[in-house]
Symmetry: C2
Subunit: 241 residues, 2 copies
């Protein structure tokens, strides 16, 4: 087992941070690592907004469901899908609005994001992805002055951990991993996992939460579905055809 594998296998979200600042050299290497990730056809269809201004942070916090760490974490990065830059440098061959281009930008941003997360973890930092950045995607875009064809995919809090939560066990491999063809999940395997996750929540919350995985997933869909996303993205110039 090497350092990289150990880091990946010990990943958990960190939402509480010490006061220790992340210095510019560390931040620089995190951004370089993000940029070094694979990118579809070398398009590099993403941008990273590093939000340092406390007033912008405070507003982002309210837009992201009032999560304190969005305001207070030492670093807060917003990973954006970005085809605006490509459109600008491209000759007339570029056509806006293809769904394919949206996928490229989203995947590029996500891959870069995961490198940033892992780079940070390799330096002793921890962090958490903030999908809540899409709760108020239009307001966030206005606040960060994102031009057309740029959209916030997720935010990321980074800093030195002030907590040490347990690693949350993932679905059994046989449910996620298939050979040659997709296979429907095995009910008994799911049931065992559901029990396992329920035990985890009971232990972590001292009995306050006892959801199985299936129940937790169901609750998620009763909450925010971000029903505005399609219109928002189309207004931005994405997914028009």
């Amino acid at each position: 087992m090497n350092q990289t594998l150990e880091l990946m296998l010990s990943h958990r979200s960190i939402r509480k941070f010490t006061d220790q600042l992340v210095n510019e050299r560390e931040l620089d290497i995190i951004i370089r690592a993000a940029q070094a990730a694979a990118t579809s056809s070398f398009l590099q269809a993403y941008s990273i907004i590093d939000v340092k201004n406390p007033e912008i942070r405070a507003k982002l916090r309210t837009f992201c469901g009032d999560q304190e760490y969005v305001e207070k974490s030492p670093i807060f990065l917003v990973f954006c899908g970005d085809t605006h830059r490509i459109k600008n440098v491209c000759d007339s061959s570029y056509e806006s609005g293809w769904t394919e281009t949206f996928i490229i930008a989203t995947v590029d941003a996500a891959i870069a994001g995961q490198n940033a997360m892992l780079a940070a973890e390799s330096l002793g930092l921890g962090g958490v992805y903030i999908g809540g950045i899409r709760n108020h995607a239009q307001e966030v875009s206005d606040l960060l002055k994102l031009p057309e064809e740029v959209y916030p995919v997720f935010g990321m809090c980074l800093g030195y951990p002030a907590q040490d939560p347990e690693v949350k066990e993932r679905l059994p491999k046989e449910i996620v991993y298939h050979v040659d063809h997709y296979t429907e999940l095995d009910e008994a395997t799911l049931e065992a996992y559901d029990t396992h996750i329920s035990d985890y929540y009971i232990k972590r919350t001292k009995g306050k939460i006892k959801d199985t995985w299936s129940e937790a997933v169901s609750k998620k869909f009763k909450q925010e579905k971000r029903e505005h996303m399609l219109k928002f993205l189309q207004d931005r110039g994405f997914i028009k055809k």
Copy 2:
């Protein structure tokens, strides 16, 4: 500089592989690393299809633009966005077709994919993402028997490298990285990068290709735009609202 950072900063796509097989233990840890990545609200909205059957591989090769390594690489994984599983385990709260859910599945698959790539690289393997899996997305879905609400985001070839290509320099940091607000790119910075990439191509192809980055990006958009993607995804149950 630690091992993880070094790995990330030395990433380049590998498209030629030795005959050395990837053993089951290595593959197992690659899948475990993929699964250990962050996942939106613990949904784990992705699946990985490991295509071992040579006949399926041969067909995939033709669907992916006849890239030999899709057929011949020791490992070929297809990372799929998957909300089918969630729909199955969810109570009646689940509603199909939200664009937000599509984004969650796509980002989950991409983040897991990047962990798999890096896990493989940490074991001395190399690989390449195959966006070409979307060239014939419907045919690929039929071939892999993907149910509704599962779609192939990208493929990934993995194996022991039989080539040692140069690392391709990314856009200057100041073009991708912004503080507090999005900033439009600086023409002079882009021009210097364009020249740099042209020099890289000239060197790598012995003068046959001399595109700048802007030219290479423009050419990309004259090729496959995968115009079928929106209809394909809607037929699968995604991006309906």
